[in-house]
């Protein structure tokens, strides 16, 4: 009758210890969100602390008016508190906040004629992240890529930054851009394809590098 023996693992119950919210790692964000929906104020503060600056930087790409973006962020959180009990629990916090902030900004920009879009919002500055350590791109390559990316239409620059820098998925990007997931993917591909064209007739070091690699 050995086969009937069932080992019961004691169920893992996450208990909120009185040690502050910062103990949560990224994975527990879902849990923070759920606590927030249930009315917990500590998690509200946690979400604000984590995302206020990130949202502000994103918002400022649309307009240079700092107080306007600040007010939008405040309104966004008021809105979140108002609708707290109706929010869905299975959500990415970051994607949700970005989409909500953008909706708010666009709505008010339409209302106020004098709010104009920044022309050079979402422009890139490429940083040679690991230039000194690993073989790969050199400064000339970065300069070419940067120039190419900055020449793209603003919406394509936006999706590249959301994807490469903010780490958002195509589904989240689609939500933010208010388009279908398929279109978000297509928009990103279009931006990247133009990069390939730029890299193809390459005379610079990337070309040399690839020859170098080919010898291995």
């Amino acid at each position: 009758m050995k086969s009937q023996k069932v080992i019961h693992n004691s169920p893992k119950i996450k208990k909120l210890e009185p040690v502050g919210f910062d103990q949560f790692s990224e994975k527990d964000e879902h849990y923070v969100w759920e606590r927030f929906i249930k009315g917990d104020n500590q998690s509200l503060i946690y979400i604000y602390r984590k995302y206020a600056d990130i949202l502000y930087r994103y918002g400022r790409q649309f307009t240079g008016r700092s107080e306007f973006i600040r007010d939008c962020i405040q309104e966004l959180f008021y809105d979140l508190i108002d609708r707290r009990s109706k929010l869905s629990s299975a959500r990415s916090i970051k994607g949700y906040l970005f989409a909500a902030l953008k909706r708010m900004i666009l709505r008010d920009i339409k209302k106020e004629e004098r709010l104009q879009f920044e022309e050079d919002g979402f422009s890139f500055s490429l940083v040679e992240s690991s230039l000194s350590i690993n073989p790969g791109l050199d400064i000339a390559d970065y300069a070419i890529i940067q120039k190419k990316l900055n020449g793209l239409p603003v919406s394509q620059r936006e999706v590249i930054l959301l994807h490469f820098y903010e780490g958002l998925s195509y589904a989240e990007i689609a939500d933010i851009m208010n388009i279908k997931v398929r279109s978000a993917r297509a928009l990103t591909y279009r931006a990247l394809d133009s990069l390939e064209k730029e890299l193809s007739p390459f005379k610079g070091s990337l070309f040399m590098l690839l020859i170098h690699f080919a010898q291995y």
Partner: protein
């Protein structure tokens, strides 16, 4: 060459690849390490794709003005509390009191903001290019910090971890207190921990660093991988798993010895371990661990040593154990323990 570029693009277009690079998780790192093992010819593509993805940054990297940041936080917390209190019965006195309280808060806040504003104005310009990020725990707190390269740091109570916003370029952190590190492997980019005069250098391992200000010795205990430690006096050693390096601060020695896992790194799994530990040190540990203060009526009660192990225990349980073997009485009141 067309083909090589195309292969790099193929990676950059892969959503899961991009997410692994930007926000690596245990699962994705496992998947892509395996993928690279089965596609050794694509290793260089991966490297170039990684560099392109990570190099994309906002050229206008604005930060919210500090006074705005604090103001909005204050507002939303108030708003949330007001909303939550709606059920409370309306009472004229309640509102009058609330009004007075709000006015007091406003006055205090205005003063605070004015101070903050003056200070921050001077500082912000100096740190514009590279800002330092600091994570701090208080007594009784622990915190998990995920670094931009995917490395995980578990901070023990009353500790501080500092690193630059340029961490991705140079993997370097400064530690005060105690922390357990799980460093993501990158053989081309060493990861350094500075704690006081001691430097710990690794490529990808897990290890514990203890360096509280009151400690007479600082120790680095290795769980996996190899760790290089050195100090400014010229002591240096390569540590391997199950071995710890102990820097004695009094006579500048570096000792290498095996360690007890429970004693050295049990803290991260909620284990308190005492082994012939002098009572004053037991009390210091408990104060930090539970965020409480001890009042000792008679210092002579603290002669002697204590041995015992607790896992996820309440302070009361630990105190019962300690007082039983050492023979003192205690009373527990909120954040205060009295020994008599």
């Amino acid at each position: 060459m067309q083909k090589a570029n195309h292969q790099i693009l193929e990676l950059i277009k892969n959503e899961h690849f991009v997410q692994w690079i930007v926000t690596p998780s245990e699962e994705s790192t496992h998947y892509w390490s395996k993928w690279m093992l089965t596609h050794p010819d694509r290793k260089k593509d991966v490297e170039i794709a990684r560099q392109i993805i990570l190099s994309a940054q906002y050229s206008k990297d604005y930060k919210m003005p500090e006074e705005d940041y604090n103001l909005v936080l204050e507002n939303i917390v108030n708003y949330s509390q007001k909303k939550g209190n709606k059920e409370i019965q309306w009472n004229p006195n309640y509102w009058k009191m609330a009004g007075i309280a709000a006015a007091v808060v406003l006055v205090l806040l205005a003063g605070f903001m004015a101070m903050r504003f003056n200070v921050s104005k001077n500082i912000r310009h100096e740190v514009a290019s590279s800002e330092m990020i600091t994570k701090t725990t208080l007594k009784g707190q622990k915190m998990v910090v995920q670094l931009p390269d995917g490395s995980k740091v578990m901070l023990n109570a009353e500790s501080e971890l500092t690193y630059s916003t340029h961490f991705k370029t140079k993997r370097s952190v400064t530690l005060k207190g105690e922390a357990f590190f799980e460093v993501t492997k990158d053989k081309n980019s060493p990861f350094t921990v500075h704690s006081g005069d001691i430097m710990t250098k690794v490529l990808g391992t897990s290890f514990n660093v203890r360096s509280y200000p009151e400690d007479t010795e600082n120790s680095i205990a290795v769980v996996t991988g190899k760790v290089e430690v050195s100090d400014k006096q010229g002591n240096q050693a390569l540590l391997v798993p199950n071995v710890r390096g102990v820097f004695t601060l009094e006579d500048n020695q570096l000792l290498i010895e095996p360690f007890s896992v429970n004693k050295e790194i049990g803290w991260k799994d909620g284990v308190i371990h005492f082994e012939d530990t002098p009572l004053p040190q037991v009390i210091a540990t408990l104060e930090r661990w539970y965020g409480v203060s001890f009042i000792v009526k008679d210092r002579s009660l603290l002669f002697g040593k204590y041995t015992g192990t607790y896992k996820n225990a309440s302070l009361e349980k630990v105190m019962k154990g300690v007082s039983y073997t050492t023979g003192f009485e205690f009373s527990l009141q909120e954040k205060e323990v009295t020994i008599y």
